[in-house]
């Protein structure tokens, strides 16, 4: 459903997109109104697909109250979470659906302008997106008086410059305002004071594409898929030691084992899974003993795990957990913006101790210190980056403590 158009048209073929039923979701929104959109999103159970999993209808329902102030909408295409590349596929294989989703988001907020914030690493897609925007304008899906409804809306592509933290809404906005991308203190949240102090609504690429899909096919049809409260389907990016690493659309509810074996072609070289990391480098490590867990928000939350962005990294039995947490922490050491102390100093302490583990000169008490510092980072960091930077290490302590002890001298 989300990926229904993959491989079916090129970025400059807007007519093909329209033939495939494109812009039906936008027309539905115009015809049936804002309340209908909220109702449909509610039935669909759609949660933010960037990783935060906040119910989209709750984020969007603010649009029901007319605001006097101009509002701004953003499509967050700053897909920087390692192991995540599903938005890349949406942007390259179905750019019009993203444009349609952002336009619906703009309609909901009575916004005049929307921005696709494209990560620097995806700059090669900027021209394609701008062409798609231009063609949408020519066909009357963007610009003045869209489809004769009186709604004016246009989209700009803004290129990031290589900073993971800019995936965080307020940091993203800071960089759009010509500043370094450091998160703002909340409150106020960006929904009340965002870009240029305007109320701002930011959604992940996939969330917008799913919203457009739901309005096209109807939420009840979308809800035929899924399991329990995790309704519908999800784009996952599975990679690492699997035979067929790629983006797949899967229904919620199949197990992690099924995803690896039936969807991604099993583990490379017939090896065994040692662990997974879900949702990118800020997500939890999952040991092989939990592979029969269903891939739903609820089943994973029950185990203190999470879907996050939809990334699934598979590591086989050859991968050392100590080396792995070194790679994970290197990332945060590089990307921490340095604004708040727990994150800035925490990743540094982590680096020192992990190096000791690698050199087999750590003490058992160092592991306890990792736990203490990690908990502090999680509870007191300023933004999501710092709050989740310790997650892989904390899960390594939980599930692989004995292996970590191989790096200690006592």
């Amino acid at each position: 459903m989300i990926s229904e158009n993959f491989g079916k048209y090129k970025y400059n073929e807007i007519d093909k997109y329209i033939e495939l039923g494109g812009f039906t979701g936008l027309k539905t929104a115009f015809e049936k109104g804002k309340q209908h959109v909220i109702d449909e999103l509610k039935i669909s159970g759609l949660r933010g697909r960037g990783g935060a999993a906040f119910p989209t209808w709750q984020k969007w329902k603010g649009g029901l109250n007319e605001l006097e102030q101009e509002t701004f909408v953003i499509c967050n295409a700053d897909e920087g979470e390692p192991a995540t590349f599903k938005d890349r596929e949406l942007l390259s294989q179905d750019p019009y659906k993203v444009i349609e989703g952002l336009t619906i988001s703009g309609y909901m907020r009575s916004a005049k302008t929307g921005t696709i914030y494209l990560r620097e690493e995806y700059t090669y897609m900027k021209h394609q997106l701008e062409t798609a925007i231009e063609l949408s304008r020519k066909k009357g899906y963007l610009g003045k008086n869209i489809l004769g409804t009186g709604f004016d809306f246009d989209i700009r592509v803004f290129s990031g410059a290589g900073a993971y933290v800019c995936g965080e809404g307020s940091a993203l906005i800071e960089s759009m305002e010509g500043k370094s991308g450091k998160p703002r203190l909340k409150a106020p949240r960006i929904s009340s004071k965002g870009y240029l102090q305007m109320p701002t609504q930011s959604n992940n690429v996939e969330s917008l594409a799913v919203a457009a899909t739901i309005l096209k096919i109807g939420a009840s049809k979308y809800a035929e898929h899924g399991y329990g409260e995790s309704v519908g389907t999800k784009l996952i990016s599975i990679c690492g030691n699997v035979n067929k690493p790629a983006v797949y659309e899967i229904p919620f509810g199949i197990t992690l084992r099924q995803i690896i074996e039936e969807v991604a072609g099993g583990v490379e070289n017939n090896k065994k899974v040692k662990f997974l990391q879900l949702g990118g480098v800020s997500g939890p490590l999952v040991p092989a003993s939990l592979l029969d867990t269903r891939y739903t928000y609820e089943d994973l939350w029950d185990l203190d795990l999470g879907i996050g962005s939809g990334a699934i990294l598979v590591a086989d039995e050859d991968m050392s957990v100590i080396e792995y947490i070194k790679l994970a922490n290197n990332f945060f050491h590089h990307e921490s913006c340095g604004k708040c102390i727990p994150c800035r100093e925490g990743v540094h302490v982590y680096k020192k101790i992990i190096d000791k583990l690698l050199n087999k000169t750590a003490k058992k008490s160092d592991i306890d210190y990792l736990l203490e510092v990690g908990t502090l980072m999680n509870e007191t960091s300023f933004c999501g980056l710092g709050q989740t930077a310790a997650t892989p290490v904390l899960k390594a302590i939980k599930y692989f403590r004995d292996e970590l002890y191989t790096g200690t001298i006592d």
């Binding site: 390692p82 690493e121 500043k179 030691n241 690493p245 790629a246 990332f331």
Partner: protein, 159 residues
């Protein structure tokens, strides 16, 4: 280098302070040395009527903006988890040995710079590397050595 191209860029963005990031990105793109020098930072700050410290903060914050001159060809090997699981260290070692430089260094002929970079979303073809922004994936030691030979040859021809 004359500052005319900078003036053009600034005027295209209406000398708007909030457009500082795209302004700097564009200047770097058009600058033949592919970085923002201290002089350029000073010039932009003056033209935009803002403190140079504010411009420098943005320049140094974003990894896509360079603060020093780089080789003609910048090799950026992904150092993130997926490429790690897919043994990117073997690729990195091969590059350093072949070019006889260490991580972060530039070859004496100024042709190659070798760097690590965080994930750029090519995890389905890990281990992966960006060469002047173009992604090369499913790298093996053999493949990367061939690629370096090809790039050296192209570099010679363009001299």
């Amino acid at each position: 280098m004359s500052n005319e191209y900078i003036d053009n860029i600034l005027s295209n963005f209406d000398f708007s302070k909030i457009e500082l990031l795209p302004i700097l990105t564009e200047i770097q793109k058009q600058n033949k040395d592919n970085y923002i020098s201290d002089d350029i930072s000073d010039y932009v700050a003056t033209k935009l009527k803002m403190p140079k410290a504010r411009v420098d903060e943005v320049i140094t914050f974003f990894s896509a903006i360079n603060t020093s001159r780089k080789g003609k060809i910048v090799l950026q090997l992904c150092e993130s988890t997926v490429c790690g699981v897919k043994k990117k260290h073997l690729i990195g070692e091969a590059i350093q040995e072949k070019l006889n430089i260490k991580l972060g260094e530039t070859t004496p002929d100024n042709l190659f710079t070798f760097e690590h970079t965080p994930c750029f979303g090519a995890c389905d073809i890990a281990p992966a590397m960006r060469v002047n922004g173009i992604v090369h994936g499913n790298l093996t030691v053999e493949k990367v050595l061939l690629l370096l030979d090809q790039l050296s040859k192209d570099g010679e021809n363009n001299k």
